[in-house]
Symmetry: C2
Subunit: 370 residues, 2 copies
């Protein structure tokens, strides 16, 4: 039995999304159970509450507070110790659940996860990893997506190792390929950190810790050149959000062109099945559920604006990760790569070391190079 | 008369693109003339050569060498002193032409432009600026797109000032809005450099040097939240290429869905006018022609894979910039903002100063924080 702790209050919507998604998830997974964490009076007001309360694979756990989408990290972490997010995380820490899922405030979720679960040995900073669809018909796993700005090469190696464990656990491909996100122009190729990271990743590839492809560029994410793309959180976040913005603009243009006049509207009716197939293919909801990697427990982040379909996908991801022992796989790979990670730390770059386990998520800058 | 120097050999294709584009450009602009620079025997082999040679607004200038797409900067700069790229640039330096356009190797173009034309007073590093379509129906100007990695806040301010001059010269909006590209999560908001750049941009806004909107995120580029988005070259390059990759993937999916079977192919015929209108709307060729800003001369970079339609757009942009006195506008704005730029330089951040006028395009890292 895989048990998932659900922050039922998290996200822009809360129980109106998390409750139907949890019920659908339970129906789709006969060997799964759910711990719903939230304010009892709010949960009780939802029409599905009675059904979930009497469900033999659902348990409801009370939490008196809610972390809002714009709560500063300090408030979420220090003042709201009985938040649904925190109590859900405690379920994982106490071994009651194998994974926690929340659609709440990312910064708060990362900080609480770090505080409650702690990072794994050998990991300075947890990373956020998500999947994006690619033209090769699969998905590209990209990390980090915003938990860390100003990464050192050491961090990028950790991301590569953790990303490999994630993809290996989902796809059963034991050696997924890793690309290092860089820019393409000759001689203006990347910063010093990226250059050093490239060397580290090559060493890791030579010692069998990962399957390093080499540098990739922004377009390779959607081409599907590699299974995994590694980058610092600032770059990853911008690339992800720019892509969301572009997809939304293109969707809007398609809609506008088909609604222009009576003829285009008729064309839309004829093209409807094709447009629907296309829409399903690029539906970002299918890719909902980012993994917080590097913690001593599984945590998945749903998009704040997820609907029930999207939130259920995040629950599925958490379930798959727990079932495929993602935690153990990450631990093993990190342990195996430990000599490289240690070597990276005794190298001249020291800022990364100073940042170890400092709380909350910090913004230690990259090294000055030349 | 506006005269444009064209590197006729540059790009993946060379004269087969640059010659038809130049002719079309001349036909569309009765007050423009063109200086075509290239290897005489190669140009002579093109069917349009005779027409261009006898054109009263076209002059052909010989250059014996070609900078290839993968020539290292050193080779392009030091060994190929008679390249078509370099000779085209010399036309601008010598005052023969008001702008140069090349579809060649970006790194080489930037290095040659810096070497031949020099940077303006007050500018440490030139930037590459391009326009991207946005959902608001206009275009967002984004810079830098890859000329500079590891920027300081001082550089970001320079980019903002130069970008404002560019947009003001194209749109006749004297105070285009500027957004600073950042990531959205509370407390993990950006690096130290971004935070400092935000302060600098606010000061510049208060002193009337630019119209600073505040931080924006990746999706704001395509939303059209601001007229200009400023970022370091690494981030800008990744965002641009990721967007290109996504657009290409979506285009491929649409094509695949409409070619699936006889019914979807019929739907494609019915929807053809709508699909064509949509395609025109997102046609990246319309946005071809990036400006190299901060040099003592106008230089525009065409995409290497541009076709004649796209290359003509780049020529149009160069023409518009020359006609609207972009150079003088950038110079004036930089001069006006000089006190702020000087103030930024005497601030603790010193790496930016060390980089002034170093050649070729360097990768001086950002400052270590804490």
């Amino acid at each position: 039995m895989i048990r998932i702790a659900v922050d039922a209050m998290g996200g822009d919507v809360g129980p109106a999304v998390t409750l139907p998604a949890s019920l659908a998830f339970l129906e789709g997974h006969p060997d799964a159970s759910v711990v719903l964490v939230g304010r009892p009076e709010v949960l009780a007001a939802h029409p599905l509450h009675a059904r979930l309360q009497s469900h033999d694979r659902c348990q409801i756990v009370a939490a008196s507070e809610i972390v809002t989408m714009d709560d500063p990290i300090e408030i979420a972490l220090r003042r709201k110790k009985n938040s649904s997010m925190r109590v859900a995380m405690n379920q994982v820490k106490d071994g009651v659940a194998q994974a926690a899922v929340s659609a709440g405030n990312t910064g708060a979720l990362m900080a609480i996860a770090r505080y409650v679960l702690k990072t794994m040995d050998g990991i300075d900073r947890p990373a956020i990893a998500t999947q994006l669809p690619n033209a090769a018909g699969g998905a590209t796993t990209v990390l980090d997506l915003g938990a860390n700005v100003d990464c050192t090469e050491d961090h990028l190696l950790q991301f590569a190792v953790m990303g490999s464990a994630l993809v290996a656990s989902i796809t059963n491909n034991p050696a997924p390929s890793v690309g290092l996100l860089n820019i393409g122009e000759e001689a203006i190729k990347g910063s010093e950190v990226i250059k050093k990271a490239g060397e580290l990743l090559r060493s890791a590839s030579n010692s069998g810790d990962l399957n390093f492809y080499g540098n990739v560029e922004g377009n390779d994410i959607f081409k599907g050149t590699t299974d995994i793309v590694v980058c610092d959180g600032f770059v990853g976040n911008v690339a992800l959000k720019a892509s969301e913005g572009l997809a939304s603009m293109i969707g809007g243009f398609i809609k506008a062109e088909f609604s222009r006049n009576i003829f285009t509207k008729l064309a839309a009716i004829v093209a409807y099945p094709v447009l629907t197939a296309f829409k399903n293919r690029v539906d970002h909801r299918r890719y909902n559920g980012a993994a917080l990697l590097g913690l001593q427990g599984l945590v998945f982040k749903s998009h704040g604006s997820a609907d029930a379909f999207a939130f259920e996908r995040a629950l599925n991801r958490a379930y798959d990760a727990a079932r495929n022992n993602l935690l153990e796989r990450v631990r093993e790979r990190i342990a195996h790569a430990a000599p490289l990670l240690v070597a990276a730390r005794v190298a001249p770059v020291t800022e990364g070391v100073a940042a170890v386990s400092s709380m909350p998520v910090d913004s230690t800058a990259s090294t000055a190079a030349h």
